[in-house]
Symmetry: D2
């Protein structure tokens, strides 16, 4: 059922939940999911509520106008989104297809709601996969000489396709700082290691060398600092001495795609609130 | 910090959160944890809020008086408890000590707040363990001829010790119906199988015979029907062919005590709301 | 690297490992993976060894001839298979595609070695998916009037396609006993419940009603008794009150496909030895 | 049942398993558990076998004499131990008792076989706990001025008590290099972070700051380099934004004690073979 998702954060003080829910109740709004969190140390407050669209006498714009006075009063960072407006998630991929194939599958089976305006890649390998799903595939070659120019072009393509957010589905390229800055907390990466362990290249090789008994993957927002952005989701799988590096890579793929798809779902359903270097995820 | 825990459930309709939080805000109440859930199928609503005791101008009794009009208006089942009033959890045990030892350890290390007025057992085996912790140990022999009488006595002891709830820490005896009825949703059992699989006796033997690859334990409230009460918590551990029944028993002990201690914590912190045969657990 | 997989089981007694490994060593064989298990209660012994094909002066047939005397001496049930002979796994599907799509992906990406001679379904829905992978899709309608005849036809098709084993990728139909008997321990099913809990139809609805906190899936060999065959693999995922039945179904799909793909891999790599109603799985 | 545990590692080549098992079979030995591993990259071979003591006509010393020629021929690093000779595990603790209490419980309930000749601590806090179990408690104060001397004394005490290995049950002190060198691969530590993440002090605070969604613990052998020794066992638990640092500490305790007790069990049952900076653990 169509609903609005209200997310907000502000300094904690008595009366926030009361003010917000009184506003919604005054307009006859029916609340579905509702969750809040107050961080004891920083005294910062976070909330997410789903309101049935049909229960309100106005739309998201009308909500925005009427709610802004309350929001100002509590000094809120806030947003309201409409579930009927599917988020446009541009996919960036390279040669490996497991994460892209998994997201395309979930999109095709309507597991959760989002649009994929296009897949952009620095290789031709995954064209057939995308096009079978009916999704435009754009090849932007990235040689050693034209990486900055190539990324300017990709950024342009994201804008042309009106991307709400960008998913790095094992994209394997480091984005320039200007690219990262253009979509703050809206570029979602999957790292094939349990951050902060195994930053950078070849995390499964690093994990094998160190002899760890658990490997994992991390879905996080991209910032200018490599593999250091706010973590959205992580998961692990047990391994032991019998697994060679290739086995870690094989087992890890399943964790990567699971963790990325969860992170993407949390993002498109407005479940993630970023606070500094940490996230609040209302699952 | 001392707080009141408000739990409630009622038929869902617009304005519940608004009414409750406006009431709290009107008295200057500061909300810590807050969680709610609306069950789509039954349209039933559940809520739990922690309110800082020092932020209110009255105590739990004062809250009760003032809040009852709101509660009636929404047809709420509700309760308010004071974290300073530790729940009195009487332990019933038999010969196996792993669950009792674990709970005594958590009590002693103040991992969460509860009192243990006494340990009651049909055997003498665990006396030293309880008494080292400074907790009275009461032996009530239960021969084949005096089980009903023995359980009448145990029920009397629970009442004398003002039990808020009773924990069956691998008690191994079936409680008479009248006993179950005396403490509805307040007798907590640990079953050494992942219910509804492996009801009744020797669940690890049953699991071994069936060749399962996951074994588990279930913490649930006791009802008159064996192993059928509302489930509070469950967890599992992976096993394979290399584990004999004795290994399942050994591995299972760790799951049992973890699951029971979580269930007891959820109960003493008023995190469990029972609705029919299911529970809402605000963890 | 090409290898032979020797699997055997027999009554346990001293000297089995010695006899087998002496035989292999006498012909210069290099052993890769090696695993054995002795079941204490039944005194039954199980072994699996991978032998590098290039290290032996003969092939699988030559091995069979020479080894049979040893096998008889120990009263072994045994088999040797050649990794170069990929197993032919016929897929039976219905309308739901998550398990089939997952297996096709793993086949296409050569995650492990097997062939899919065809996909057979009682519906047309998944034709495009199979054919994009270049795999023949055969539609065998199964109305209420022709189920037995339809299954005779499907069994014929399996034989025509020289199936080594059959995978029920959420096939949703009960196979006739004669069909089960034609491929003993070679029909692999995925059940969307953690057996022996939630046998039969609508296991997620059953799980929701019972209010469990863990849901799971079971990969097992099919026998004439519904959902009762030897279990190959199981896994679970945590759920709580916030998940409606549709959420259990959504979350369960990921467990189902993971568990089924593991089970299929164990089977095609000859890692599963069946003993009565239980399995030994050398992972 | 009393058994000998043979562990060995050597460069891989054909015939190792044959030679070892022929030797055992020639003396009528019955093999219980048996496991081997060949590391593809380094071509190094590892094996562990349990042999029923009663099935051999000689003891561990007799085995040692007769087997040494085979061992030399394959250039083996090897060991044979007798399950009847319980390993003497000296415990070093500080003020926190959860790991020590857990190990004492498992020792007392004979979950697996080991002796605890004494508990040594730089504080008096845990005396009562140890002494209730009937285990000598030795207090060695470690002020800023006498740490080196104190550790010389502790090392002496370990030798006097004929320690086979030393368990750091949340000991919280850095051992001098000479101490580490005295018991190579025989000092077992529990680190309250999922190494290599969160090395050093206050790992839960580090984990909280980084906003991770999984926290873990690591059991490893101690080397001169802090938190860098070979990893024996690791496990994790899911956390989210709702957990404050104190909650991570509370939840982490359960992981720490589980991981440490597994690591200790693997060590005392001779399941851990160290190879460079990695371990082979035959669970």
């Amino acid at each position: 059922m169509r609903h609005y998702r209200l997310t907000l954060s502000c300094p904690d003080r008595p009366g926030i939940i009361a003010a917000v829910s009184a506003f919604i109740a005054a307009h006859g709004g029916t609340i579905g999911e509702s969750a809040s969190h107050s961080e004891p140390d920083t005294r910062h407050f976070f909330m997410r509520q789903e309101i049935l669209a049909a229960s309100l006498p106005f739309g998201a714009d009308g909500f925005r106008e009427r709610f802004s006075a309350i929001a100002s009063g509590f000094n809120m960072q806030w947003n309201i989104s409409d579930s009927a407006q599917k988020k446009r998630m541009v996919m960036l991929a390279s040669k490996q297809d497991h994460c892209l194939a998994d997201l395309l599958y979930r999109w095709r089976s309507k597991e959760f709601d989002f649009d994929i305006p296009c897949v952009i890649s620095n290789h031709e390998d995954l064209r057939s996969l995308a096009e079978w799903h009916g999704i435009p595939y754009i090849h932007v070659p990235l040689g050693p000489e034209n990486k900055p120019a190539g990324h300017v072009k990709i950024l342009d393509l994201c804008r042309q396709h009106k991307a709400d957010a960008i998913v790095l589905a094992r994209y394997m390229q480091i984005l320039p700082d200007a690219f990262c800055a253009a979509y703050p907390n809206r570029i979602i990466n999957i790292h094939h290691g349990l951050l902060p362990a195994f930053v950078g290249a070849r995390p499964y090789h690093q994990a094998f060398e160190r002899g760890v008994k658990q490997i994992g993957a991390t879905c996080h927002y991209v910032t200018a600092e490599l593999d250091a952005g706010p973590i959205i989701e992580q998961d692990v799988i047990r391994v032991d001495h019998s697994e060679a590096v290739e086995d870690l890579i094989r087992l890890g793929r399943d964790v990567e795609k699971t963790v990325l798809s969860r992170g993407v779902r949390y993002h498109v359903e407005d479940r993630v609130l970023v606070h500094g270097e940490r996230t609040v995820v209302f699952r």
